[in-house]
Symmetry: C2
Subunit: 658 residues, 2 copies
């Protein structure tokens, strides 16, 4: 039992080699860490032959993964199903595959296969690390695995960290004095969880009151509870997208992957400032601010949790796990970790991978021992929300060259050419959130979100406004539209300056009268209230607004330009641009292209990805393998720091013009 309780090292991938084999393979470096991979890329190729069992022919799939990833993960991440109930922990002995070429034999293989089978290349897929190109035969599935579509068209094979096992145990006798824990664990053949004190306190009573018919509740490798009777039908978890502005919670039935309820609200940390920098500053000015910010985050998460549980009629005590995706600062504040070093150069995180914590450490009142999974971060300004987003968009699974842009005050950019992945952060400033814009506002009722200019139409300015309201201001997408339309019709020149009035009269007479002045500043009037309207507030775009947007888009385009150069790519090489984040999703691709926020590409290559951070959080709850994928991203993605690039400023200036 001790072996069970204290985790048996041999239960996990990786292992040892015999010296003669080492010599034959010329591996003096351990697997997964070969100096220079053969074909010059950072990856190894796995060619899967998937048997269907029926008359249908076997299907061939080849995937490329970082060296050291297990065959099981490589398959799982690419939607190739292999039998398994333990989820790749080496305990269920079900993930049988045939490997071509020499491959280490683990002691679990020795227990699982005959000498002939081992000879024939049969291995447990979760214990074979892909350290060189391999051919893998996958036998027909004995059980059809459940899968769900999450994120941007990602097929996720369901294998949640939250597992339940119903067991009916023999009652102890003088001839069978096994401890309660041994008795319980012996009845669970595919998992070997470690109990926590809470369970041991309850175990003796629950077992006896339930006549030794109980359900073990396991999260990852921990036995978190023992419930009387069979409760396997109820498995719940909550995915949180902890945004600086908005927080979203989704209650999931992890057995099916179905969302049971969704709720969102403003982050209660708002009073401390609208962006991460002001909140970090708050902790630097007031020693009590960190505790308050932590409490505010906790209250936000708790209120949302209560709301989704109530809406779905789920007892909060029946929620055994949560996953949280947030940027580095939001994650640090939620955990009560001093964020100061994130806010000042050289922008250092306390840790890339948050520690294993309880949901209660985040201020949540769910099951008392509910676990919390927090996404790791790539850097102070490319946080767990982006890692979650990469998971949801499959940035590391796709052979295409793709550019991921999360547009916001801090804009995160990820570029993958199918082999290498680079990421960076660009300080875009508050323009997209309506900050520092004369008539700027958040995307709320009355915000102009779409602008069309039709100089020769009866209605030269066409606006679409959020809600059934008169235009009150410009939100980010409206701002981008307005500027891009003015550039298109020629009222703004390439340098971002409004053209002289006489020039305006020539090219767009119907619009010329809207180009006027407020005080000394030139403005373009987008909306002039009807004389008998209750409001007399105009919605205008000022010259300074245009400059603000120019700076924002220049920061962003400088970011992805430098990443493209790092990989030696041209604009046209980018096969897909993913616009993420609450703002990015509303942006008009055409306008984004026209002002140069994204590379000049066919408009169909620009895709609104939506709230990918929240989708990533769901995936982490539905698949332990996706979680492993998030961890692998930390090694795979290279973080490019812009603030110490000597060429940044030159590039920035180049990018200012439209």
């Amino acid at each position: 039992m001790t072996d069970r309780a204290t985790h048996d090292p041999t239960e996990l991938p990786g292992g040892d080699f015999f010296i003669d084999e080492v010599r034959r393979e010329g591996l003096l470096e351990p697997p997964g860490t070969e100096a220079v991979p053969h074909d010059g890329t950072g990856r190894v190729e796995l060619s899967f032959t998937v048997e269907t069992g029926g008359d249908a022919p076997a299907t061939e799939r080849s995937v490329r993964v970082p060296p050291g990833v297990t065959v099981f993960d490589s398959a799982s991440w690419n939607g190739i199903a292999i039998d398994s109930t333990c989820g790749g922990h080496g305990t269920c002995h079900k993930c049988r595959v045939r490997i071509e070429g020499p491959s280490p034999v683990s002691r679990h293989d020795l227990r699982t296969f005959t000498r002939e089978q081992l000879d024939d290349g049969w291995r447990l897929a979760c214990l074979v690390q892909a350290t060189r190109d391999l051919r893998v035969d996958v036998p027909p599935l004995t059980t059809r695995p459940k899968a769900a579509t999450v994120g941007v068209g990602r097929q996720v094979i369901l294998r949640p960290a939250l597992q339940k096992r119903y067991v009916e145990l023999d009652e102890p006798t003088l001839a069978d004095q096994r401890t309660d824990l041994d008795r319980l664990l012996a009845a669970i053949d595919d998992l070997a969880p470690t109990p926590d004190l809470h369970v041991l306190r309850r175990l003796p009573r629950v077992l006896r009151e339930a006549d030794f018919k109980v359900t073990a509740v396991i999260v990852d490798e921990t036995l978190v509870d023992v419930e009387p009777g069979d409760t396997t039908g109820r498995r719940h978890a909550i995915a949180f997208d902890l945004g600086t502005t908005t927080v979203v919670a989704t209650l999931l039935d992890v057995t099916t992957g179905t969302p049971l309820a969704v709720a969102s609200m403003l982050n209660r940390q708002q009073p401390f400032g609208g962006d991460v920098i002001t909140r970090i500053s708050a902790t630097m000015l007031d020693p009590r601010a960190l505790d308050r910010l932590r409490a505010a985050a906790g209250e936000t998460l708790a209120e949302l949790a209560a709301h989704v549980c109530d809406e779905a009629g789920v007892d909060p005590a029946e929620v055994h796990e949560v996953a949280l995706a947030g940027n580095a600062t939001m994650t640090a504040l939620a955990l009560g970790i001093d964020p100061e070093p994130l806010g000042v150069a050289p922008f250092v995180m306390s840790t890339p991978q948050p520690p294993a914590v309880l949901a209660s450490d985040l201020g949540l009142s769910l099951h008392p021992r509910a676990r919390a999974y927090l996404f790791p971060a790539l850097g102070a300004y490319v946080g767990g929300d982006i890692v979650a987003g990469m998971l949801a968009t499959g940035m590391d699974r796709d052979k295409r060259t793709r550019l991921f842009i999360d547009v916001g005050t801090n804009c995160e950019i990820v570029l993958s050419d199918g082999e290498r992945i680079l990421s960076t952060a660009a300080p875009a400033g508050p323009a997209f959130e309506g900050g520092a814009i004369r008539c700027g506002m958040r995307a709320a009722d009355g915000a102009v979100e779409v602008v069309k200019l039709v100089p020769d139409g009866d209605e030269p300015v066409v606006l679409s406004v959020i809600g059934d309201a008169e235009p009150r201001g410009l939100c980010g997408s409206g701002l981008v539209d307005a500027v891009s339309e003015l550039v298109r019709v020629g009222l703004l020149d390439a340098s971002g300056r409004f053209v002289p009035e006489e020039r305006a009269a020539e090219i767009a007479p119907a619009l010329a009268d809207r180009l006027t002045k407020i005080g000394e500043e030139r403005v373009f009037v987008l909306f002039r209230p009807h004389p008998d309207s209750k409001t007399d507030e105009c919605v205008v775009l000022s010259q300074r607004d245009v400059r603000e947007l120019q700076f924002a888009k220049a920061a962003i385009s400088t970011g992805w330009t430098l990443l493209l150069e790092e990989l030696g790519l041209e604009h046209r090489d980018v096969q897909q641009v993913l616009l993420a984040g609450s703002f990015g999703s509303y942006l008009s691709p055409a306008s984004a292209i026209r002002i140069g926020l994204v590379p000049k590409l066919p408009v169909l290559r620009i895709v609104s990805a939506g709230n990918v951070a929240g989708e990533g959080a769901k995936m982490a709850l539905l698949s332990v393998r996706e979680r492993a994928g998030a961890r692998t991203l930390l090694e795979e993605v290279t973080y490019v720091e812009l603030s110490d690039r000597t060429d940044f400023n030159d590039r920035f200036v180049e990018q200012l013009s439209f």
Copy 2:
């Protein structure tokens, strides 16, 4: 860093085999689990050749250990020092030895040795499992390891779980944005601890306030704190012996193994009953009793901790670990685990190995994240105190045939023939604690602890009394002495009956008048107060007292008799009897032999071992390898349940006579 944070499986002993090697060795079973070991015993033999470095010749030592134990542990448990700073976690790469014959090569070996060295048999001792007889060359030590003598003459090589590392880190720059944790862990070359949330909350501030000169505090594999400056000189831990009656605390400087302060007090659980059964019953009668018993245990431990810290001038917040040895019931109550199944047949524990807990889970207020190590138990009535005792007496390291007896209300018995180890528990009843004895009392002032009868001396009855007081009653050792002396002089016959008065007058005239009656019951007067003494209370031994002792000793001798039979041994085969426990240590070996409490052996073979549970707890704090040894004992020792032995009663009756 993720690899660091989430423990890398390959950092531990054990590993995988190549199939051709498997075939050559004919190992289709994984190492450590071969069906029947070659020479019919449960052990494998390791022959160590220990180089001294100087001119002195190498010394030869051969030891026998259970299969699967690492070479490093095998050496460490037998006082053979091998270089190491990580303590056998596979992280420091210092424990270099040369193995004769084929042996797996771990990836750590690959990093540590040249191809030629590997060929020559060089391996890291902590990663080689002894699965068959091996010859091992141990090179001269590069550093002289500290050792301390603990327990019954055990030489323990000091390698505490509590480690400190002082580091001076480079400050981060834009060119070096490693996280605070990565930076810290990278500077600690021999350990790879996992941080807990508490540390991460403090880390950024402490690092910067201390100009990146800090001391990492590590307990086992957890980073529990980061302290400003160099605090490596202060490493403290507390060893607790949590007895049903008495609790003892020892504050240790784990750097040297020196006890800084010792304190003991009565267990605050006394009001709930004097023995484990009454306390278990209390929890069955009153649902709130478990919490109260848990609180009482916590208060007892906390008061002792405060006392020893105060006495040694150590800040309680500087105590980072505690170890606790207690019987199964005391351990369960201290953790708040329902003890009911321990008290009723079939006597089942919730778990043999208590979970990893914090000192605060035991009600202690030391360092907020101080860890607590609790000894595992072999059975409901052979608990962690006995496992600790076995460690302190080296029951599993000694080639001699030894019998370990912890005399008390519940009497634990362990027998080892140097290969196999058996244990059992005998219900001796309260006689030894003075319970159910007419003039019985605890070993306190006024208790008669030694009795000598000198029929032909001027003073026919010689008593020695605890403290400077008149005799008030009989404690356990006095009771055993009294009965054994009366048997010796012939006033008690072999059946335990007082001889008729006339017979008494014949054989011991000087004592005959002391053999009288109180009411209907015959008694022997041990002490008659002087006429002008303030007390007129006699101290007598009654016929019923003799019966009580007969039952107690019969239960015990039945226990070891059955164990001897199980191993096919005679009394004379026992080379040493260890009398343990507060009572056992005071027992007169001669009397114990005479009444048959221990086998009939030369008196020098009977040894008082003292408080071995407390000594075992100290060892657990001073050596992680000894801790591993305690875990191994669980697999090594066979627990023999007496209550379902059909022959128990017959044997019991046989054992009643003197």
